[in-house]
Amino acid sequence: MIVDCDRHVAVGDYAELFTHMPQSWQKHFERDEFVGSVRDAASHIKLTDRFGDAVRVGSEACAEVDLALAVPHQGLTINGWADQVAAKTFITALNSWSIQNWEAYSAGRSAILVSPYDPEWSARVITEAVSRSDRYSAVALPLSSTLLGANSFDRIYRAATEADLPVVVHFSGVEGHYLGAPPLSGGVHTTAFARATLMPHLAESSITSLCFGGTFEKFPGLRVLFSGFGFAWLPSLLWRLDREWRTFRHDVPWVKQPPSEYVLDSVWLSTWPVGEAAAEWPSLFTSERLRSRVVFGSHDPFDGDTVDAIRDTLGESADAVLGHGSPVLARSLGAVK
C-alpha cells in the first residue's frame, strides 16, 4: 500500500469559496481588498511557478497511490491573518470546498482546517466535521506563536483523539514573516527560500514543546504528523531531548519516560524533501522503530517527490516508508480500495 500523507489542494480563485459561506460573509469578502490581499499573501510564500495552481480533483496526481491526505494549504495562512473572525469563516469555507473537491476520487482524503487562536471553536469544528463525512482524515493545525505543548491546545488534541484523527502540522509559509505566525530564530529573513530552508527548526521546536509540555501523557492516543519539514534532523533531536531530560527530569516530572519514547510512539515526519536524506539515511536511521517515523509525503504539486524518487533515495527501505502512513491515517484505511 502506498500512502501519501502530504498532498496539497487549492482553489484557483478565492471567489470559488463564496458559495461555501453565508451570503453576508460573501459580501464581506467579495472585494479586491480581500481576494487581492489573500492572493498577494500567497505570492509572498511562492517558491515555484506552480504554486497556487488549482488542484481540483486530484485523480491524475494520485494515480499511483492508494490513499492521499490533502492539506488545503491556503487555509494554513490564517496564522498570519489579523482578522481571526474572518479567518474562521475562510477556513470553514475551505473545509467545505475541499471535501467536495475530493469526492470524485476514492483515494483522496482531506484535513480539517482549524484555528490555533480559538481551540474551543476548533474542537467543535472537528467533532461536527467527522459527523458529516468520513472523508476527513486529519486535523490541520496552523502554527501560531504559541507552542504546541501549551495547555490551550488541549481541546483540539482531545477532539482529534476522540475522532481518531491525527493532527497534521504543516507550515503555511508566512512563518518568520507575518505577525502572529511563529518567528524563525535569528531574525526576519528577506526571502521565501531562506525561510523555507529554516522551516525544520519549527518542527523541532514544536516536538520539543509537545514532549516537555506533557501533551503525550495527557493524550496517549494523540498522533501528530509534521509534514513538509524534512526528517533527517530527527535522530539528533531525539538524542538532545533525552540528554536534557536526563539532567532536568525534576523540572518536568510529568515526562515519565525519555522524550524520544513519546516521539517514537506518537510522532511522524513526512519525507519531503527526500533528497536531504540521500547520504544520511543508512547511517542515521539505523532502527526500524526510527525508520517507522518517516512516512511518504510527496508535497505535490509543489516540486514534490515522486514514488520513484523515494525508491531511488531510500533504497530497500522505500517500500516500507511508502506504507508507513497507514497507522497515521488509520481511520481512513477501512474505506480504501
Binding site: 539532567t247 510529568w254 515519565k256
Partner: protein
C-alpha cells in the same frame, strides 16, 4: 578532604570514620580511604556511603548536593519528595537515590556505588560491602 590511612582490609571489615557529630545532616562529607574517595551522607533517617563516580560520565558525585526530587506527576504539577534522600551530580545534574545508588526516574543506566555505613553509639563505621545501608 579528610584522609583516613586505615582502610578496611576485607570487604566485611568495618573501620571507624570518627564521631557522628563530624557528619552534618544533609551534606556529602568526602573522605579519602587508602587513596579512594568515598562520600558519607548523614540524613535524618540514617547514614549512607557512596563511591565517587557518577555512572553517566564519571562525575565526582561526592561534590554533589543532597536534595530531594520531583515525583512523577500530572502535567504542570510539582510533587516534591524524598527530601535529603537524593544526591545530584555536580557535572550534569543527574539524581541518584542515596540508599540504593539508583538513578531517579530511570534517567540513566547504572548506579552510583553504594557501600555500607553504620552508626554504632556515637561513631560512624564503614565497610566496602556493596549495596547495604542501615538506618
Amino acid at each position: 578532604m579528610t584522609q583516613i590511612q586505615a582502610s578496611p582490609s576485607a570487604v566485611d571489615e568495618f573501620i571507624s570514620l570518627g564521631p557522628l557529630v563530624q557528619f552534618p545532616i544533609g551534606q556529602v562529607k568526602a573522605l579519602e580511604l587508602d587513596g579512594r574517595v568515598i562520600g558519607i551522607v548523614r540524613t535524618v533517617n540514617g547514614i549512607h556511603a557512596l563511591g565517587n563516580r557518577c555512572p553517566h560520565q564519571g562525575g565526582p558525585i561526592c561534590r554533589g548536593i543532597v536534595t530531594g526530587t520531583m515525583a512523577p506527576s500530572d502535567p504542570d504539577e510539582y510533587v516534591y519528595e524524598k527530601d535529603g534522600e537524593v544526591v545530584r551530580c555536580p557535572w550534569h545534574g543527574y539524581e541518584f537515590e542515596l540508599a540504593t545508588g539508583r538513578s531517579v526516574g530511570g534517567a540513566v543506566r547504572g548506579r552510583v556505588p553504594v557501600y555500607t555505613a553504620e552508626v554504632r553509639g556515637d561513631e560512624v563505621f564503614f565497610s566496602w560491602r556493596r549495596g547495604a545501608t542501615t538506618s
